[in-house]
């Protein structure tokens, strides 16, 4: 539709020329394409304005209608997620829903809420791993305290290529340093997360950062500009040219030339963020002062001003001459699109400006009034006395185009469905030890201590379960709150690659099982959908199947999605990354005695396997380490069986019957048991599985990754109680071994010894894998 045939009259005056003449250019189709807008999107923008946009406006449309800000390829799919609890009496009611604000909030009882969200910083980290990861932490922490919440924990979901590559090692080291640098300085404990290494992430690592905070219900703040005449403040350090157009950058595929996009990567200053955090929290508890607040994250000043105006059903007018700047001669395009870090937009009640200013003076931070809330619906931007942009705010936030993409099921997904293990010979007993060590030494399975020793995971003095167990747990005692929050992240890309629907469900149930093993009941989810280019039908198929699978699991367990992030165009060289819908779940642990770790501490426990002997070899890590194949049928998921298992886990933990619990996941049953022993290598175990189980295969029994399973360590006197409770709950439970102090890992199948090795030797494979790989670089 051209301007001439548009039904909308050109009711607004054409803005005068920009004071910076370099911005007064003709908007050519090439320029539109460079801004990542499709021709029809540009036509839509013209229609909205009733005229041709100027360059500043084109930049504004470009970032606001990018995938990163507008979810234009995923919005329809995201509607499949339940955003509130079906059971209105259950704990964990949603107080702020997904998409409403910067982050969602759930009720955790006694007037307290937990605000949490995960967000990606993949593209910047691929180019500048240290700064990319650091600012990823900074961005998510701002999302949380913007809501009025005191951040209390961090976690990450990280994905890298193979550590054999020096380039991958550089990215891995840089990302971990970046997270450590930023999070440690803020003084928020980083209590773990998940890390996978797989060749599909070569050149396109994933860096997803999560933050959770606590707040009183009445302290929830909104990102809305309300009250005509209320002043709009800019707080935080000055604006520079860094991170220009970062949101658009994140909405493109990475190529060899992406390194030239380095200016699109932001530079973080955790000290500034710490000041901003404290100042904002101090300001927000002043009764009636703050009307609305929003951080300047993706698309910076642009996004924060039009989103607050849109949410407040108001107009907003800002004057760029008043914006604190740390570079000279910045023009309106640069100021509006800069993604300089650690800045916030705050709207306060008129007449109370001094109260805000005093707080920021105390913390030696800028607080500049840059505009005010206006009647109407427009975002008007002035620079040097001239209107440089004039756009209906809602058109930027609500009228971004939404696309349905064609989807096509990839051939490898079809092939995986009919896969059987028959063409692979079963393992011989004498091969078990080598295969086991190989698995323990795979960086995905190996100890992640190399990573988290660099994170301050104990600051705030609340960490109850440190990284390395099934879930991280913080106790909020120093805040005077008798509550324990558990958090877990999960997503096995191999499963999602081979069966996206089931793979996403496995991410969900594993995450929830991790919480259950720690004694926590899951309350809500935040997800980070990391995929390739959605314009490719096979990528879109994977994306939509993953979302459908996840949505189904959310509904079944009545665990809603309260926020998250979509990161598309994760491609490099050979194509898209494996589908990676990262699931993160927050849960609560009721009593202090219910906090359960995955490590054995007594040395005389009986091991009980819940869920039956594993029998599915497909898609396992064993297939990778032993056969060098990413193939196979993804293990079955039975949501009802999973629910029965988790209910049993929690009830047995609450009954005081469980001294340690660990879910069976990557690497299978032997790896699970080994990890339970590794806290103290003087422990040993005598395992006897009886038969080879339903598959009649040693490899599938020991290393298969069948779902719905967990291993409990039970004190001898509690064994009969656990077994009878399991029987009543309809959960298969069998004794598989006894822990001792021999320091030997021994296993018997079909009456024959298949394994007899020092725990210390196994632990070395597991402990040294990552440090050794990293010392080679």
């Amino acid at each position: 539709m051209s301007l001439e045939t548009s039904e909308k009259p050109a009711s607004r005056p054409v803005p005068p020329p920009n004071p910076d003449d370099t911005l007064n250019v003709d908007i050519t189709p090439e320029l539109v394409a460079e801004h990542g807008l499709l021709p029809e999107e540009y036509e839509r923008a013209k229609e909205i304005l009733g005229r041709v946009p100027n360059l500043t406006e084109l930049g504004i449309f470009s970032v606001m209608w990018s995938e990163h800000c507008a979810y234009k390829n995923t919005r329809k799919l995201l509607r499949l997620f339940p955003t509130e609890k079906a059971d209105k009496d259950a704990l964990g009611q949603v107080l702020v829903k997904a998409g409403e604000e910067n982050a969602g909030v759930i009720d955790v009882g006694d007037g307290w809420g937990v605000c949490f969200k995960i967000e990606s910083h993949n593209h910047p980290s691929a180019i500048e791993p240290f700064e990319g990861a650091a600012t990823g932490v900074g961005g998510i922490v701002r999302d949380i305290f913007t809501m009025g919440a005191r951040p209390v924990l961090l976690t990450n979901s990280l994905r890298f290529g193979s550590l054999d590559s020096p380039q991958v090692r550089r990215l891995f080291r840089g990302v971990v340093h970046g997270i450590s640098h930023y999070g440690n300085c803020l003084g928020i404990p980083n209590i773990g997360g998940d890390v996978y290494f797989d060749e599909s992430y070569e050149g396109n690592p994933l860096v997803n950062a999560l933050c959770a905070g606590i707040l009183k219900h009445e302290e929830i703040k909104r990102g809305a500009a309300k009250g005509v005449g209320n002043p709009v403040y800019y707080v935080g350090p000055g604006t520079g040219r860094d991170g220009l157009g970062g949101a658009s950058f994140a909405s493109r595929e990475l190529t060899e030339e992406s390194a030239e996009d380095r200016p699109a990567v932001q530079k973080g200053d955790p000290f500034m963020e710490k000041l901003l955090l404290e100042a904002c929290l101090e300001m927000m508890v002043i009764p009636g002062l703050v009307v609305g607040i929003q951080d300047m994250g993706a698309a910076g000043l642009t996004c924060s001003s039009c989103e607050t105006a849109s949410r407040g059903d108001a107009g907003i007018e800002i004057d760029l001459d008043l914006v604190p700047q740390r570079e000279e001669g910045m023009n309106s395009y640069e100021i509006m699109l800069s993604e300089s870090q650690e800045r916030m937009l705050v709207i306060v009640n008129r007449g109370r400006e001094r109260e805000l200013e005093e707080v920021f003076e105390k913390w030696d931070l800028h607080a500049a009034q840059i505009g005010e809330v206006k009647e109407g619906d427009r975002m008007v931007v002035r620079h040097k006395g001239v209107v440089v942009a004039d756009i209906p705010a809602k058109s930027l936030t609500d009228e971004a185009p939404i696309y349905d993409q064609p989807a096509k099921e990839p051939a490898h997904v079809v092939a995986a469905r009919d896969w059987t293990s028959d063409k692979y010979d079963d393992l011989h007993a004498e091969e078990v030890e080598a295969a086991f060590k190989q698995l323990l030494g795979h960086p995905t399975i190996a100890s992640k201590h190399w990573i988290w020793r660099q994170y301050d995971h104990m600051v705030m003095a609340g960490t109850t379960i440190a990284p390395g167990s099934d879930a991280g747990v913080v106790h909020l005692a120093i805040s005077g709150i008798e509550k324990r929050i558990a958090i877990s992240n999960d997503c096995n890309n191999r499963f999602c690659y081979l069966n996206p629907y089931r793979g996403a469900q496995i991410a969900f149930v594993e995450c929830m099982r991790n919480l259950a093993c720690s004694g926590a009941r899951a309350l809500a989810v935040t997800d980070n959908l990391n995929f390739g280019n959605p314009n490719k039908p096979e990528v879109y198929y994977m994306l939509s199947e993953c979302v459908k699978g996840l949505a189904e699991a959310c509904k079944f367990f009545d665990v809603p999605v309260v926020g998250g992030n979509v990161s598309l165009y994760n491609e490099h060289g050979d194509g898209a990354i494996d589908p990676t819908p990262v699931v993160s779940m927050v849960g609560l642990i009721e009593g202090s005695e219910d906090v359960t770790r995955s490590f054995i501490s007594g040395g005389d426990e009986t091991l009980v396997l819940l869920g039956g002997l594993p029998f599915e070899l497909g898609a396992s890590y064993f297939m990778q380490t032993h056969h060098d194949r990413k193939e196979g049928k993804v293990p079955e998921v039975n949501l009802q069986a999973e629910k029965n298992l988790q209910d049993l886990l929690i009830s047995q933990i609450q009954a005081g019957c469980v001294s340690a619990a660990h879910d069976v996941s990557e690497g299978g049953l032997l790896v699970t048991v080994a990890e339970m022993l590794f806290d103290d290598a003087t422990f040993g175990v005598d395992l006897d599985f009886g038969s080879r189980g339903p598959s009649n295969r040693l490899d599938a029994l020991l290393f298969g990754e069948s779902q719905g399973r967990a291993v409990l360590a039970v004190k001898p006197e509690k064994l009969s109680e656990v077994l009878s409770s399991a029987r009543q709950a309809g959960v298969d439970a069998q004794q598989i071994g006894i822990v001792n102090r021999s320091g030997r890992f021994q296993g018997i199948v079909d009456g024959k010894t298949i394994l007899d090795v020092d725990v210390k030797v196994l632990r070395e494979s597991w402990e040294n894998a990552i440090p050794h790989a990293m010392n080679n670089s």
Partner: protein, 238 residues
């Protein structure tokens, strides 16, 4: 208020220290902003951990110019007990209240672990008899490598000014052995007068049953002993 916990911009263990002293030890304490005066009723001061002023330039190098530091110096000169933890230790060294300096860990990385330590017989209360031969306290720092020139080091050792040393056999895994390259495995020291303490480990992080241990309580009590009635001790004169 009896114990003041100084809050610099970038302090991030002030809250933890407050909780340990106020709620666990039971001495009324307050956080005091670095631009304020030290309240007159102050009986002991904690300089907490964190990243004061972002640790830019050098750890603690900017904090020593904060307005409250003058009050702190005169407080310590009069024999008032002062305890710097982690970044607080770095600040006290920069301010000249404690000997030595803390530089980058020799592993060039941040280290966070529950660390094995051996207390020394340094003061009447900070002693092996009171604390035990071996304790565990968390460390969390990137610049905890204690340095002192040879002469001063001999003097420090001769005076019994070392409070505690990194201990344990590295073969026993993380948290054992010297984590940062500190000279003589020194993890904490006091001044000659015995009223100013500093250490890299965080006693305030091991005071609750849900923490990895409770060894922090003894360490904090050893420092605060002049204020704890049940353990009356004469204050060392400056």
């Amino acid at each position: 208020m009896r114990v003041a916990i100084i809050q610099f911009p970038g302090s991030n263990c002030d809250w933890d220290a407050w909780h340990a002293i106020n709620d666990v030890i039971g001495l009324p304490s307050e956080r005091v902003w670095h631009k304020s005066a030290l309240p007159v009723e102050t009986e002991a001061v904690i300089v907490p951990g964190g990243f004061s002023f972002g640790d830019y330039l050098r750890c603690g190098a900017i904090a020593r110019f904060s307005p409250i530091m003058e009050d702190l110096k005169s407080f310590s000169k009069k024999g008032g007990p002062v305890f710097g933890i982690c970044n607080g230790f770095q600040i006290l060294c920069e301010a000249g209240l404690l000997p030595g300096a803390l530089v980058r860990n020799n592993c060039i990385e941040f280290r966070c672990v529950n660390q094995c330590l051996a207390p020394e017989d340094s003061t009447e209360n900070f002693s092996k008899a009171n604390l035990g031969e071996q304790i565990y306290l968390p460390i969390a720092h990137g610049e905890g490598n204690y340095r002192l020139d040879a002469d001063d080091l001999s003097e420090l050792e001769a005076n019994g000014q070392v409070l505690l040393r990194y201990d344990g056999d590295p073969a026993d895994g993380p948290g054992h052995g010297n984590p940062n390259g500190s000279v003589n495995d020194i993890a904490g020291v006091r001044n000659a007068a015995g009223n100013v303490f500093g250490m890299m480990p965080h006693p305030e992080r091991v005071v609750e049953t849900f923490h990895p241990g409770l060894d922090g309580i003894g360490v904090l009590r050893a420092f605060l002993s002049p204020l704890l009635e049940e353990e009356p001790v004469e204050m060392v004169s400056a």
